[in-house]
């Protein structure tokens, strides 16, 4: 069961604000993320979301998948939660987590990926999402 991996990332700088992930590091304009021609199913997503904790607060993270590439409509998926007690020193690292989905898709159509913070403002957060397609 071969798989294809397609990614987007971006920074979320405001709380309760839907923010589309449109870049991919050195690729500042990779264009729309289209469902690959050979794809049969969206098996799941890898998500890594991390805040910079420049403000003392607590926030939750989630992603939204939207667009004509999703036959059964939009999906919203939890991606983590973080809090900080001081904003004057700290470092953290976490691995991306796989979330299995098994979602029906429409080939050659776009999937839009959004990141969002709920709760309180902890500064900015970096979101990275990889869509894993079965072909």
């Amino acid at each position: 069961m071969p798989k294809l991996y397609r990614s987007r990332e971006g920074e979320i700088t405001a709380i309760d604000t839907k923010t589309q992930l449109t870049t991919l590091g050195s690729q500042t304009a990779p264009g729309p993320l289209l469902v690959p021609n050979q794809a049969k199913m969206l098996l799941g997503v890898f998500v890594a979301a991390v805040g910079n904790h420049s403000a003392i607060n607590d926030a939750n993270f989630f992603i939204r998948l939207e667009g004509p590439g999703l036959i059964e409509g939009p999906e919203v998926i939890a991606a983590g939660a973080e809090a900080t007690q001081v904003a004057t020193g700290g470092a953290a690292g976490k691995k991306a987590e796989f979330i299995p989905l098994n979602i029906k898709i429409q080939v050659s159509q776009e999937i839009l990926i959004f990141g969002e913070m709920g709760g309180e403002d902890i500064g900015a957060a970096q979101f990275g999402v990889t869509l894993v397609f079965e072909v």
């Binding site: 798989k3 397609r6 890898f46 470092a91 953290a92 690292g93 976490k94 691995k95 999402v129």
Partner: protein, 137 residues
């Protein structure tokens, strides 16, 4: 023939595709897929940044080159963040977990070169390093 291929390297500029071509004491390890390889079954990634700059970032790897049958694959592996440390204070080291895709199922052609690159995407966290192992079947 070996089933594994491991490369590592420094990734010191944010949002810059950086090819991983070394392996510690081996300056130029082979990046050719095994002669009988059909697919990558597993991808293992470890990355860390010295986090001397404040911000938040992801670690992204790209698998490309002639060996990847269906074109470049991009995988988000981790999230890293740092606050600027107040002068005179200390912080413990950060131990980042190993990121593993155990059923990667990425189709490859045998005896072809594979390009493995890493990027710190988002904010610049200072200097970073990454090591990637691919396991073939």
């Amino acid at each position: 023939m070996s089933k594994t291929l491991t490369v590592e390297g420094d990734v010191n500029a944010a949002n810059t595709k950086t090819n991983l071509t070394t392996q510690g004491s081996v300056a130029a390890p082979s990046r050719v897929t095994p002669a009988d390889a059909k697919r990558i079954t597993s991808v293992i990634v470890a990355a860390a940044a010295d986090q001397l700059a404040e911000g938040a970032a992801n670690i992204l790897i790209r698998l490309g080159g002639n060996a990847i049958r269906r074109g470049e694959q991009t995988i988000i592996c981790a999230g890293l963040a740092a606050n600027t440390v107040v002068s005179g204070s200390d912080l413990p080291p950060v131990y980042n977990p190993l990121f593993m895709v155990m059923d990667a199922d990425i189709e490859v052609d045998p005896s072809e070169v594979i390009d493995i690159s890493a990027e710190v995407v988002g904010d610049d966290l200072g200097d970073a390093t990454a090591v990637v192992t691919l396991i073939f079947d």
